[in-house]
């Protein structure tokens, strides 16, 4: 993870995206506040809901995924991140253990959809099919579909925990997120 010394000070490239989650982990990322200014000197966010880039570059140093794998688009994004990122990090409980999105798993998918789009709707109930990704029968954590290198649990992980993990990675060390965060933190 340390910047390539041969070309002087090369920034570490970072890509992030949210899958099935509430985006709270990304908000917690922003909660690093003024520390973001220092981080911006060391990392280059090349793809993220935070920036304008529309496509994931071919090669990225660190990929950060928030959210669980709940539909076919989540699955596609997770595989794309795995293929293009040297290191892949699961950020937050949804990515790490499925969390709230996975609480639909004990129920049949058809029943879940009926409940959401018909049973509880008064006016013109319909199941959306156009332009929305297909839901998967079982919600899985990110490491249920691709290999993940670093796990940062928490709902959401505190900004301090995210800052610790990022600075350790930038320094070329292996962080121990269990020291600073836990499931449900």
């Amino acid at each position: 993870m340390s910047p390539d010394g041969s070309k002087g000070r090369t920034k570490v490239t970072v890509a992030t995206t949210w899958l099935d989650g509430c985006s709270g982990c990304h908000m917690s990322f922003l909660d690093m506040d003024e520390r973001l200014v220092d981080l911006a000197d060391q990392i280059d966010i090349v793809y993220s809901p935070f920036v304008d880039a529309k496509a994931l570059p071919e090669q990225v140093d660190l990929g950060i995924l928030e959210g669980s794998i709940s539909n076919d688009e989540d699955l596609h994004k997770a595989r794309e991140f795995r293929a293009r990122c040297k290191l892949l990090l699961s950020l937050g409980d949804c990515a790490v253990n499925g969390n709230v999105p996975a609480m639909r798993n004990p129920f049949k998918l058809d029943d879940v959809i009926e409940r959401s789009y018909r049973d509880n709707v008064d006016l013109n109930p319909q199941i959306p099919t156009d332009g929305v990704p297909q839901l998967l029968a079982t919600v899985r954590p990110v490491h249920g579909v691709v290999d993940v290198d670093i796990f940062v649990p928490g709902c959401p992980p505190q900004a301090d925990a995210i800052h610790y993990v990022l600075t350790e990675l930038i320094a070329g060390r292996t962080p121990d997120p269990g020291r600073v965060t836990r499931f449900g933190a």
């Binding site: 253990n97 899985r140 954590p141």
Partner: protein, 243 residues
């Protein structure tokens, strides 16, 4: 905390735990000696003041370098015994045990009334469980809110049977028991009647206080609000031992 021994001719044995030379009374178990000497061993089903069941296996230790692991809660001290509490192998097994508990039922900490006050959550952190490697079972269990003061959520239960033992051994009501086998195993009140219809329950709440997770909780608690107080148990158990 050790139970006060009335007899004066207590026999003492010496043993080694993690290289530390220690002495203990001969009727003590390895986990009691470890707790007295601040040697951390994770445990879930064991609780001071309750009988020993040796069910959770989190407190397994290596004894005299032998290949067979022994539960520290169910192993008495012996003269000259050598105990290893934290080898790489033990850490590996404990981590796997905690992961299996998480995979078995719904232990979503973020929406649990016991978030931040849960022994399973704390065990995950101390045993290095930052994710669960096996697939989740994703099976739903029932929730019984029929009791006017308490609630049982079987999705959060780890089957430690602390509730069963405290109800039988300390309160003397024996409202709780265990039903079924394997993944269908669950704690029940009065031959699987709804808790609110139980004739034997005294509503003392001891089961709720000793439950390590959010399985037994007070009604009306929201996320993170269920804080348990387990002080009463060792006090009651010690007073009774004098009778």
């Amino acid at each position: 905390m050790p139970l006060p021994a009335p007899q004066t001719n207590v026999r003492v044995v010496t043993l080694t735990i993690d290289g530390q030379q220690l002495s203990a009374r001969e009727e003590e178990t390895v986990i009691e000696v470890c707790r007295e000497n601040k040697i951390p061993i994770p445990s879930l089903c064991w609780m001071e003041g309750l009988s020993v069941v040796g069910a959770c296996r989190l407190c397994v230790v290596e004894v005299d370098g032998g290949p067979r692991l022994q539960a520290a809660c169910a192993t008495r001290v012996r003269e000259g015994m050598s105990v290893q509490t934290n080898s790489d192998r033990l850490q590996r097994y404990r981590r796997t045990l905690v992961e299996l508990l998480f995979a078995e039922r719904n232990h979503v900490c973020s929406v649990c009334v016991s978030n931040g006050h849960c022994e399973l959550q704390w065990l995950a952190q101390t045993c290095g469980v930052d994710h669960v490697r096996m697939p989740y079972r994703n099976t739903g269990y029932s929730v019984d809110s029929s009791h006017e003061m308490f609630r049982v959520d079987h999705n959060r239960c780890v089957l430690c049977t602390r509730c069963v033992r405290v109800c039988d051994e300390i309160e003397g009501a024996h409202t709780w028991d265990v039903m079924g086998r394997g993944s269908g195993c669950q704690v029940v009140t009065d031959l699987a009647k709804p808790w609110g219809e139980s004739d034997s329950c005294t509503s003392c709440g001891k089961c709720v206080q000793v439950c390590p997770t959010g399985a037994l909780v007070k009604q009306g608690t929201s996320v993170g609000e269920m804080v348990k107080d387990q002080q009463f148990l060792s006090i009651l158990a010690r007073r009774r031992s004098h009778r």
